[in-house]
């Protein structure tokens, strides 16, 4: 039972990180109809910047710079590429982000090399016990920060003029444009927010129990894709649920590896994808995604 609770808690904390990434993914999709395959390498960019700078300028400034760099990178992608392709088919947009991803990822992996860059989190690698259930401090803080960010996002999404503008243009881009909502600005802001969220997620993703920033962080970030798809690509709430679901699945599959040994070692890394495919079989637009209706 303790093991179960421990896995559940760890899963939720991991899921909170995934939820941040998936949320960014969903925001981008809502605002500019782009499935951003660049997201994994943007996240790695954030982690890399933080890891590289924290030795010289200190941890907190490094985090700020890292978040900023990621957000600006996302903005540049939107301004120089996505914005020019307004109205192009979804597939071309996805493919162009893959192109960006190839360049960014290749460069980052070349920079990182075979090393594992350490991020000197002030909270270190300690873990705490809550009623017999152990969790690393890093993950605990991640949960708190993610909760704050997600709540802040949902409040902004519901009440701020940006949130209203974005929901309007997601609902009906043409009508929103006619009402004087500047689509370009909405989309640019969405990319910035997504970049911010990805960088924050990166900060915690490379902390304990993960050893540090390596090329493998990219693969971990990719697991936010099933999270976003699972919840429904156009549902912000879905991203949240999807993230948690994927996090818990992964933690459980890794924790009960002994019992699942017939599925092979390291099944935890694949479990999210298996769950995603199963869910998509039953609900092709994810758990909370809007079903596409076609009328003639």
């Amino acid at each position: 039972m303790t093991q179960f609770l421990s896995l559940l808690l760890n899963g939720i904390s991991l899921g909170a990180i995934y939820a941040l990434i998936a949320l960014g993914f969903v925001i981008i999709f809502k605002a500019s109809e782009v499935v951003s395959f660049t997201h994994g390498s943007l996240l790695l960019l954030g982690a890399y910047t933080i890891a590289r700078l924290s030795d010289t300028i200190g941890f907190l400034p490094a985090v700020l710079v890292g978040v900023l760099v990621t957000a600006v990178a996302a903005l540049l992608v939107e301004r120089f590429i996505i914005n020019r392709l307004r109205g192009a088919p979804v597939i071309s947009l996805a493919i162009v982000t893959i192109g960006v991803d190839i360049i960014l990822l290749t460069e980052l992996i070349r920079q990182i090399g075979p090393d594992i860059l350490n991020v000197p989190h002030p909270w270190g690698g300690d873990s705490v016990r809550i009623g017999g259930v152990g969790i690393s401090e890093n993950r605990l803080i991640a949960m708190g920060v993610a909760a704050v960010l997600i709540i802040a996002f949902f409040v902004a999404f519901k009440y701020s003029s940006w949130g209203v503008a974005m929901r309007a243009s997601a609902e009906d881009g043409e009508a929103a444009a006619l009402m004087g909502i500047r689509q370009g600005r909405v989309s640019a802001l969405a990319w910035v927010v997504a970049g911010l969220l990805a960088a924050v997620a990166a900060l915690f993703l490379v902390g304990a129990p993960t050893p540090g920033v390596s090329a493998a962080a990219y693969t971990v970030a990719l697991r936010a894709f099933p999270a976003a798809i699972l919840g429904g690509l156009d549902s912000t709430g879905g991203a949240l649920v999807g993230g948690l679901l994927i996090g818990i699945t992964e933690a459980m599959a890794a924790g009960y590896q002994e019992q699942l040994s017939f599925l092979g070692r390291g099944f935890g890394e694949v479990a999210p994808y298996v769950v995603m495919i199963i869910v998509l079989l039953v609900r092709p637009s994810g758990l909370f995604g809007t079903k596409e209706l076609t009328r003639v």
Binding site: I91, S92, D101, R265, V270, V274, G286, T294
Partner: protein
Amino acid sequence: MSDTLSAPAGAGRTSAPPAGAAPRRSPLRLLKPLLLLAALVVLLALPLYVEEFWLRTGFAVAGAIVGAIGLNLLVGTTGQLSLAHAFFLAVGAVSYTFISGESGGLGTRAALRGLELPPIVGMVVGVLLAGLAGLVFSPIAARLRGIYLGVASLGLVFIGVHVLNTWTPVTGGFNGRSVPEFSLFGFSFGNDDPQLFVLGVPFREAERLWYLGIVLALVAYVFARNLLRSRPGRALQTLRDSEVAASVMGVNVQAYKARVFLVSSMYAGLSGVMYALSIGSIAPESFGLTVSILYLAMIVLGGLGSVAGAALGAAFVTALPLVFQQFADVLPLVSAPGEGGVAAGIAARYLFGLAIILVVLFEPGGLAGFANRFRSRGHRPGRGSPSAGPASASSTTVPDPSDPPAQGSSTR
């Protein structure tokens, strides 16, 4: 590479203005078979003159051409974004290795198993199994729309790599296993047995595989071209442009999506077998997400929906890193691994990424579209300026050289 040569010839026939096209066609019609013949002769004679490196590259390119044509049927023609191509490649490669491979110890831990059947059986069954895998996945694929499919297919790649890593008796596990030589009715495609000399040139593995590659790539090419010109091909293109319109026209949307998945993954299976033969061993890392993305790069660069374009793109993407590697000491900026400069594979990677972005931004038709535009430049006024605007904005797949609707009727 006869495919690359036939590309402009095929593309030329699409030159848009119907009035100006007719007189231009007659010299072209004469030119095309001549060009094809010349290309074929050059290709067949090449092993007599060229170094082994180029022949090996040629076979790798042939394998990639087969795979890229298959992916293009799915992504370019039918508009189903799939990142799962690496998975189907793996199914083909592993099946071939398992069916034709020998049982035996791996030396370290587990024993490998193999059925030791003739390689041709391995190849055929590999293709069929890959097709079957595609068919099994197609119910999911058929239900998902465009982008959901893209991400869902991502999952297959990771599951595939996991299976490759863990199912050691069949796949060789993390370290992979070596691939049995191909042979056909007792004629081995290995280095000897029988020893073969043509005009004094020893015909070893590279030379033999070269011819195998030409044959397989040609078959794959012709099949795809004919498919696109036939009724199912038209149906698939309609499906891409509008599912609603397609179903109104009597196209069974679900069934066609399943079938195109079947065909595409069979292509991938064959490509996987050829890949295994060209490398000589299979390992999990050869079938990761990177491979899927490179295949996507091939068809985007070549031109979505165009068979010739896929072949061109495959040749480009496959050969470039190998050529970079070969000439690392000559090229500026590129260097051998560990010498400070940019390694060959990485340099090629930058180029692909950049090329993808530029192609989507400026020439959605890819290399095929570029060739097409180049050929019809004399008729530019007839096409008018608006072709630049709405055509590039509305779809990446507009200037498809290999599936112009009126082509069949106008040539006859």
